[in-house]
Amino acid sequence: MQNPYLPYPVRIDEIITETEDKSLKTFKFVFLNPEDEEKFAYESGQFGELSIPGLGEIPIGIASSPMEKGFIKFTVFKTGKVTSYLHAMKEGDIMGVRGPLGHPFPWKTLEGKNIVIIGGGFAFTTLRSSIISILDPANRPKFKDIHVIYGARSPGMLLYKDELAAWADRDDINMNITVDGTDDPDWKFLTGFVPTITEQKAPPGNDDTYAIVCGPPIMIKFTQPVLDNLGYSHDNIIMSLENRMKCGIGICGRCNIGKDLVCKDGPVFTLSQLNEMPKEY
């Protein structure tokens, strides 16, 4: 019997400070036992529990893509006890990771479809994983048009800036990078809130077009009516939720929304599903 609470030991291989306010850092982990990497076979949209002995565990979306081998990456916002400690850790330090946990985005359903990826703030991590997966030459032919709308407060608050710039130069992905506002004269992308940019740039909704939406509640609240107006059915709007978690495997009981546990039955739900569920998130 496998103990599902036992973390895989990992070494912090690299720490990248992502944002100008230093509140977001990306941690690249390497498994101490190479066979654990195979056990951690994941898909974009899943999450892991980062485990720091003495502090506890935190559920964080996986920011790396399964197409990237030899490491896993998590981008972590400094906010509570465990994340604050993690932000002070150094390359080479040992800690633990459990997972992969939860359901990924529905990649089988998305095959042959147009995908609009809408992200705001630091909820862009599993979306980064998704974009890397989609753009891999082995996968890109499986999907039709790919649109990305990603916004942050300011240019300095965008995650993965180098990758965003590289994707913007490609012709097989339609990038719409936006900031709420900036006085940077060299800013070459868009200005405006995510819902507004979505209204202007997202393709109209139809059976063959799916939106994946991850962002702060305020962004989601104002983006949903825009997608409704564009004709997106609620079955075609895919979202990823967060709730307080401990076990991550559907047993400890705290992350439930109705009968569903965000950790095990989610974190990915369609808007149709969420419409039938209590708003306890």
């Binding site: 019997m1 496998q2 103990n3 599902p4 609470y5 036992l6 973390p7 030991p9 101490l32 485990s51 720091i52 002995p53 003495g54 502090l55 506890g56 565990e57 935190i58 906010t79 509570g80 006890k81 994340t83 330090d93 040992i94 800690m95 633990g96 967060e242 709730n243 307080r244 401990k246 076990c247 495997i249 559907g250 047993i251 400890c252 009981g253 705290r254 992350c255 439930n256 929304i257 109705g258 009968k259 095990k264 039938e276 569920m277 209590p278 708003k279 306890e280 998130y281």
Partner: protein
């Protein structure tokens, strides 16, 4: 399976005998109540109780349980690597489990032993255990087991059911584990065939002594949101002080918290029973709390037991009718009343104002 008759002498001898094969747990009177504890070699279970203060839940699922150990000493090769604690369970026999408390184990098992994940701590303890039940001859005023999936002679979750008749005991084996236990105890005297009808009479009388009930037949037909948005939650929760007694004494409450505890340069990762009555249970690091208000937490407890569980497993309610939460609630919140209210709630014909959710 034939009924085995056990007189007082062979009961004592049998319990002594099984202690060489099992760690034997049984009820012992402590102050005013009976509590389950590991029996010493010369200690006998005391079967003279209506029910124990707490169910035997904690024998399988301790209130605090060490899961892992770790070292923070940089000189240690395994510094910051979680180590599993030894989790080998020798056979245990739990004697004197009332049928309501016995039914709680298969209910809780659906949470801990799933196709995807097995909670190794719970599953190993459960698999190592033999459950020896004790039929109830009369009910307390708060019992409602007969409408909660079992009854005073209920067998689900048990390996052996013992029926006390004056000084004599009758044992009915229900499973292979039960056969093995009876064999280990050396109980071999078959009861007279005439006992069967006597036991049937006792069973009927015991069932008749239960005066309270819940109605659960319509819980499944209603949508989650109908019940969730029902207008009675704030009123029902008004007197609640969120003390958590109901979750603590409930044989089917299974939620837990995980905490690390460091002493010097080493520590343990442990789990502790948790309660949905606590605001911290769902409190996000951001400060947001999806169940910030008291009535939301009270609603969660009843919705979980009487709607979410019902829908998820289609195996009845997540309540065995033991009545402990009713007896021990300091403000007299009664799950029977709330269950019946939920069951009879008709959202379409409700003219009451719905509270903000």
């Amino acid at each position: 399976m034939t009924l085995i008759k056990i007189d007082q002498q062979s009961w004592t001898a049998g319990i002594e005998k099984v202690k060489s094969d099992y760690r034997v747990f049984g009820p012992v009177k402590e102050k005013n109540d009976h509590e389950f504890k590991l029996l010493d070699q010369d200690e006998m279970p005391d079967l003279n109780y209506q029910n124990t203060r707490l169910s035997p839940k904690s024998i399988i699922y301790p209130q605090s349980q060490v899961m892992f150990t770790y070292s923070l000493d940089e000189n240690d090769e395994d510094c910051r690597i979680m180590k599993e604690v030894e989790n080998v369970k020798s056979p245990m026999a739990i004697i004197g489990v009332r049928p309501c408390d016995a039914l709680a184990f298969p209910i809780v098992r659906r949470n801990f032993d799933t196709p995807e994940y097995q909670d190794t701590y719970w599953v190993k303890a459960y698999e190592a255990s033999t459950f020896i039940g004790l039929a109830c001859s009369s009910a307390c005023g708060t019992c409602f087991c007969t409408s909660a999936g079992t009854g005073p002679f209920g067998e689900e979750g048990l390996d052996v059911l013992i029926i006390a008749d004056g000084d004599d005991l009758y044992a009915k084996s229900i499973t292979g584990k039960g056969n093995a236990f009876i064999q280990a105890a050396g109980w071999t005297t078959e009861a007279d065939a005439s006992v069967d009808s006597k036991i049937d009479e006792m069973k009927t009388a015991a069932e008749a002594s239960i005066s309270a009930s819940v109605t659960t037949d319509k819980l499944k037909d209603k949508t989650t949101l109908e019940l969730y948005d029902a207008p009675f939650w704030e009123e029902e929760a008004f007197s609640c002080i969120n003390c958590g007694t109901c979750t603590y004494v409930c044989p089917t409450c299974w939620c837990f918290d995980v905490q690390d505890e460091t002493h010097g340069k080493s520590g343990i990762r442990m789990r502790n029973w948790d309660s949905c009555m606590s605001p911290l249970f769902t409190y996000h690091a951001s400060g947001h709390n999806p169940r910030d208000a008291k009535y939301q937490r009270v609603r969660q407890r009843f919705m979980h037991k009487l709607k979410y569980y019902v829908d998820k497993y289609d195996k009845g309610i997540q309540c065995v009718g033991c009545g402990r939460c009713i007896r021990l609630c300091p403000v007299n919140i009664d799950i029977r009343k709330i269950c019946n209210k939920m069951n009879s709630y008709d959202a379409a014909n409700c003219v009451c104002e719905t509270p903000s959710s």
